[in-house]
Symmetry: C2
DNA sequence: GCAACATGAAACCAAATGGTTTCATGTTCA
DNA sequence: TGAACATGAAACCATTTGGTTTCATGTTGC
């Protein structure tokens, strides 16, 4: 059990604007897919595919309730994004970076 | 002057692992493309395309120095990501979310 | 001036992506 | 039981993506 080998990761999952909207909607409340797709200008099948991508990234879960399947957001995988971002925090609004560039620009 | 209509945004730009590596490399120091592509297992042309995507997203800048063009990271656009992420902070490690789910699960 | 170097641009390609439509399957409840 | 509903799966399609190779252009410095 070495590589996770998930087909889609968090970075890919949130790259698409429709999927970001989906995430936003499912953050507030769980919802069956038919109800979800009423809010989007595309077919239920298209939404279904987007949901699968989000699921593969761990950003969405579902549970069966009667004949419907309710989807909800799962926020934890976003922590990976947060961690990735934290590396770059020192690069914005940072005096050291300005200094570094000043030095580089003076090199020739 | 309505829509920015940039072909690539930050979310797309960081979706690709190669581009994330590029960003990481160019965060530490500026570098001409030939030197950059020596660090990657693909052609200089491929790197060139990735750099263009990063540039369109505003994540990379360049300046001419003699016959070479040195690339460097520009971190500011990542703030959009940070802002986007901040909306979801209340969803991880949050008692309220647990309560919400408890209520939902009890509904039938 | 010109060889060597650094880069850009174009044509091409396979695979992935984001949609569609159509059909199949399972569930509910009157 | 069977009609209506909720979903999933499959086939298909156009465009985008991520790579290649080949060729063109501009710059440097002996």
């Amino acid at each position: 059990m070495a590589t996770p080998l998930k087909k889609h990761d968090v970075f890919q999952a949130i790259a698409d604007p429709t999927r970001r909207q989906l995430l936003h909607v499912l953050a507030e409340q769980e919802m069956p897919i038919t109800q979800i797709s009423n809010r989007f200008p595309m077919s239920r099948t298209a939404i279904s595919k987007h949901l699968r991508v989000l699921e593969e990234a761990g950003l969405v879960q579902n549970r069966r309730v009667g004949r419907e399947k309710r989807y909800r957001m799962q926020a934890e995988p976003l922590l990976e994004l947060k961690r990735w971002l934290s590396f770059y925090e020192r690069f914005w609004d940072n005096k050291l970076v300005a200094l570094q560039r000043f030095v580089e620009d003076g090199q020739e």
